[in-house]
Amino acid sequence: MESVLLTYIIFSPVIGLLILLFIPRDEKVLIKNITFILSLVPLALSVLMLILFDRSNAGFQFETLIRWIGPLNIYYHTGVDGISLFLVLLTTLSVPVVVVSSFNYIKTDEKLYYMMLLFLETAMLGTFLALDLVLFFLFWEAMLIPMYFIIAMWGGENRVYATFKFVIYTSVGSVLMLIGIFYIGNAAGSFSVSEIYGTNFSVKEQLLLFGAFFLAFAIKVPLFPVHTWLPDAHVEAPTGGSVILAAILLKMGTYGMLRFVIPLFPNATLIFAPAVFILAVTGVVYAAMASFVQKDIKKLVAYSSVSHMGLIVLGLFALSRVSLSGAVYQMISHGLSTGTLFLIVGILYERRHTRLISEYGGIASVMPAFSVFFMIAALTSVAVPFTSGFAGEFMILFGSYSSEFMQNSSEYHRIFVYIAATGMLFGAVYMLWVYQKVIFGPNINPENQNLKDLSFREYMVLIPYAVLMIVLGVNTEFVVSRVMPSADRLIQIFYAGLK
């Protein structure tokens, strides 16, 4: 079945970008409003996709398969399943939010900034929807360009160092992955997922290819110990960049593992799984501790991301239907909560131009509504029940606990689960600490005494994420009933390929 819907979704932001080109750069208000309206188009289209999505079909839907570079068997192949469905929705929801949140923050070269955002959106959507390795790689690399400019042009003082680190880290991974892609294309005779799933690589080939792909994705996640680019990138990035980075770009790594690493290299996955578990749970605990000692709020949130993403990786490699669905759920939830946290930091920064925790205190007395949104995000982050974070973490932890795969791959598998569960405790330690330091206590700093509470625009920025965090915490069925069939299918592909 051929469907053009996904193509529209992927390229509608670029069309918006072309429209934006014709608007003079001095028409700042017009640029902002038009970008906002344009960013609603992919959102509307992806909601349409959600409505048309058939939850009983575990495979890819709305597939488009067009021979693109014939001799090399490269296809323009796109499709969506339960896993990518919600990541796409998260992306199309986040971009309008980021656009509106940037209205006051970005004060130079607005036109270029919004064009970059739209370009970035196309690249992100393409990455989630591409089902051809070369196409995937093109979108994957294309993300780097706008992100580079967003940090380098609108970032903080140390932005050159941060962008450099970001680009070099990511490129190292990409180069290895590119070699892997060539090898697979050569061996399978095609780059399209429908044909490479089920290719029989020897175990030795699998180990090498696993290494190449996994490193690229692990850097993006970022998995301990290749995580050090993230705090720097976050600290220097403008609010919008941080939100996109945390809410969506990091998920590219876990999505890549899920879509390519696990189904393509089942034997290598089996062999490497214990090592991955060790890195994942080390990351969960270590990053939570590192987060606790940060003085900069953004860095604290960045380390909390590393901690939570470690848990997601654990859920992915535990490979049970519950843990996999939980991992996807947690990707969404982490996007919402961490996205909100960065928006929160941005709102503070716009008022006070500092991110140091020690500069704040007693904010609740002047910004009560702001404090409520901060609270919701913090609670989701520490996985309090009836927030989306609890649903995700509980499914990951219990899914891993009861996972047969995990039981077979490592003798003491439950210890990993117990250690990972401590993340819920350590997470509460740093999150409530920073919340108290910023929000509670006496408001003694004279500069904090006349801060304005949220404006209408800021309400509009914060409400969508906040509502979703609670709704998805109470009603998990809507998402899980669509994710679980695809997770099951993935596990089947995995076991079918296992030798």
Binding site: M289, L425, G441, E477
Partner: protein, 653 residues
């Protein structure tokens, strides 16, 4: 049960959430007087609905009735849904929760009326009741955990209600984090249960619990019990409760005395059949409970903050309930839970009335003589003190006595000594309870007033709920009378009515929905003897307290404190437990975090590893730069040298 009743039940649980939402969303626009009325009414309606359901269902709830509301978490082959269990245990608990909450809500209208954040306060308070009802009504253990953490969250918000004081915000955070430690054990226990039974439902867990192997049963129940020590403030996780007194006093009454802290006892009762499978855990629970009771009662004898004394008293009384649960006397534990909810809520609210009268004063050394100024408060305080002291005919006499008896006759195959040791500790605790409450009562109400404020009696909106509670704790005892007391009572009663047979009504009502060994052969003469012992102990405690503290502090106290200064100081400083935890856990965590971050991120990854890579790239670049400098003569030189090397290898061979 009919569909109509089950929908009433769902409405009863949802009402407090609706109230919380109304007050929460309109927090800035709601007139201050209205928010309290809305909040109180939602809880009252909820109480009435539970009462209707309880009465209308009649015998139908002898077996648990399950109300499915919505699916929630999918956990593979089964699903932990939002579904409620209606049996006598859950409904009686829900009636207690909503009933006491409603009274405390009304009291709060008077107590918190002047506060700027009153709308926020009532929104939190309603939210708390909602989560508490979820905890109580949950049909599966995962949903119970939702309520469990939810009430913890509300407790955090309410302890830190006056957030602009750093100390209060700290207390709230401490409560949350200490509870999270317990919750971590709880959640791992949940994994064990879900993994073993492949179901989250209490009904199927209890029904299948006989299949569970000894060691698994021990691990599961112990983990759940650790969870309970967090929420119900038992050793070693009790440390948050005294600090939690930083919250408004009605909050202490509701959350930290009557309802939330009893969640652990309720959870163990709910999973009675599972706990029955491990004698070892039961012994641990019994000993922990009775030791906690004694330990915190000793602290309570030396404290000077009226709320702190009551906080340690709460920990101590919860210890009684756990001892009963460990003795497998769930009915006795639940009965004490309920009488305690009445008299401890009353004590806290009365303390609140005193604090209110003295505009915030909490130090009992600066009170005294309040009898004359606060006639209602002092009368009720006197009754409540006699009750907690265990003096007949008030309720705690009945409930505490039943516990002492059940612990005494308990036989635990895992630890034969446990019941007897527990009994002795509990008896000592009874003495100290009577002593510290007499000390508190006489220091506050007798003698001369030592402060500078002008005490005034509280308004009617606070006094009326207090009288209702007073009636409840004064007369509720006989509903749960043990066999021995029944025997004693029957003798005079027979004069009037022949063939009278008094029984433990509470136990009879609860029997169908809790686990029990069946009837234990009871020895009435032992039981009667024990009753006399405990009554004697209670009177001894009360009168020694009265002797030392009536009107003025007796010189004996001074000389005792001087002679045994180290002991007094140890108790006064609460055994330095907070300091020990700070030294053993908090500080190390901070230092280890800092150390690890410095070592791993800053040094190994950034400095050594990344630094090395940068050096390699730099050196390589430096070497290669020699060849790429753009001077023609150098390039020609290098070219010729290269050519020479190639020629050497080609020709020279």
């Amino acid at each position: 049960m009919t569909d109509k009743l089950s929908s009433l039940l769902v409405i009863a649980v949802l009402l407090p959430f609706a109230g919380a939402l109304t007050n929460g969303l309109l927090v800035r626009y709601m007139p201050r007087k209205i928010s309290g009325i809305i909040a109180s009414c939602t809880i009252t309606f909820s109480f009435l609905l539970f009462a209707v359901v309880y009465i209308a269902a009649g015998n139908a709830i002898r077996i648990p009735y399950v109300v499915q509301v919505a699916p929630w978490l999918f956990l593979g082959d089964f699903n932990a849904g939002i579904s409620f269990i209606a049996d006598r245990l859950s409904l009686i608990m829900a009636l207690m929760v909503t009933g006491v909450s409603a009274l405390i809500h009304f009291y709060s209208i008077g107590y918190m009326g002047g506060d700027r954040g009153v709308n926020r306060y009532f929104s939190y308070l309603n939210l708390f009741v909602g989560f508490m009802l979820i905890l109580v009504m949950a049909e599966n253990i995962v949903l119970m955990f939702v309520g469990w953490e939810g009430v913890g969250l509300c407790s955090y918000l309410l302890i830190g209600f006056w957030f602009s004081e750093e100390e209060k915000a700290n207390a709230g955070r401490k409560a949350f984090i200490v509870n999270r430690i317990g919750d971590l054990a709880f959640i791992i226990g949940i994994f064990l249960i879900l993994g073993y039974f492949n179901s989250a439902s209490f009904i199927s867990i209890n029904a299948n619990s006989y299949k569970i192997p000894e060691m698994t049963a021990f691990a599961v129940t112990l983990l759940l019990f650790i969870g309970a020590t967090g929420k119900s403030a038992q050793i070693p996780l009790y440390v948050w409760l005294p600090d939690a007194m930083a919250g408004p006093t009605p909050v202490s009454a509701l959350i930290h005395a009557a309802t939330m802290v009893t969640a652990g006892v309720y959870m163990i009762t709910r999973l009675g059949s599972l706990f029955m499978m491990s004698d070892m855990t039961l012994a641990v629970i019994m000993l922990t409970g009775s030791f906690t009771a004694l330990f915190s009662a000793t602290i309570a004898t030396t404290q000077n903050d009226i709320k702190k004394i009551l906080a340690y008293s709460t920990i101590s009384q919860l210890g009684f309930m756990f001892a009963a649960a460990g003795a497998f006397a769930f009915s006795a534990a639940m009965f004490h839970l309920i009488t305690h909810a009445f008299f401890k809520a009353a004590l806290f609210l009365l303390a609140g009335s005193v604090i209110h009268a003295l505009s915030g004063e909490q130090d009992i050394n600066r009170m005294g003589g309040l009898e004359r100024h606060l006639p209602h408060t002092s009368l009720m305080f006197w009754l409540a003190s006699l009750t907690i002291a265990g003096i007949p005919p008030f309720s705690a006499f009945f409930s505490k006595d039943e516990i002492l008896y059940k612990v005494f006759i308990n036989e635990n195959p895992a630890a034969h000594f446990a019941p007897k040791i527990a009994y002795i500790m509990l008896l000592l605790t009874s003495f100290m309870t009577a002593f510290y409450i007499a000390r508190l009562y006489f220091k506050v109400f007798s003698g001369d007033y030592k402060g500078e404020k002008h005490p005034h009696e509280s308004p009617r909106i606070m006094i009326v709920p207090l009288y209702i509670l007073t009636i409840l704790f004064a007369i509720s005892g006989p509903f749960g009378m043990g066999g021995g007391i029944a025997h004693i009572m029957e003798m005079p009663a027979k004069i009037f009515i022949k063939n009278i047979h008094l029984t433990n009504t509470f136990q009879r009502i609860l029997e169908p929905s809790i686990a029990s060994f069946g009837s234990v052969s009871s020895d009435v003469s032992t039981e009667i003897l024990l009753i006399f012992v405990s009554v004697a102990v209670a009177f001894a405690g009360w009168f020694s307290g009265r002797y030392l503290y009536y009107q003025q502090i007796s010189p004996v106290v001074e000389s005792f404190n001087r002679k045994f200064y180290p002991l007094h100081n140890l108790l006064y400083k609460k055994y330095y437990i907070d300091e020990i935890y700070e030294f053993l856990i908090v500080r190390p965590y901070i230092y280890i975090s800092k150390g690890l971050y410095g070592l791993i991120d800053r040094f190994i990854i950034e400095f050594v590893f990344i630094g090395l890579l940068v050096k390699i790239v730099y050196v390589t670049g430096f070497v290669l730069r020699v060849f790429q400098n753009g001077y023609l003569y150098k390039i020609i030189c290098i070219g010729i040298t290269g050519l020479g090397i190639i020629l050497y290898f080609m020709v020279g061979r």
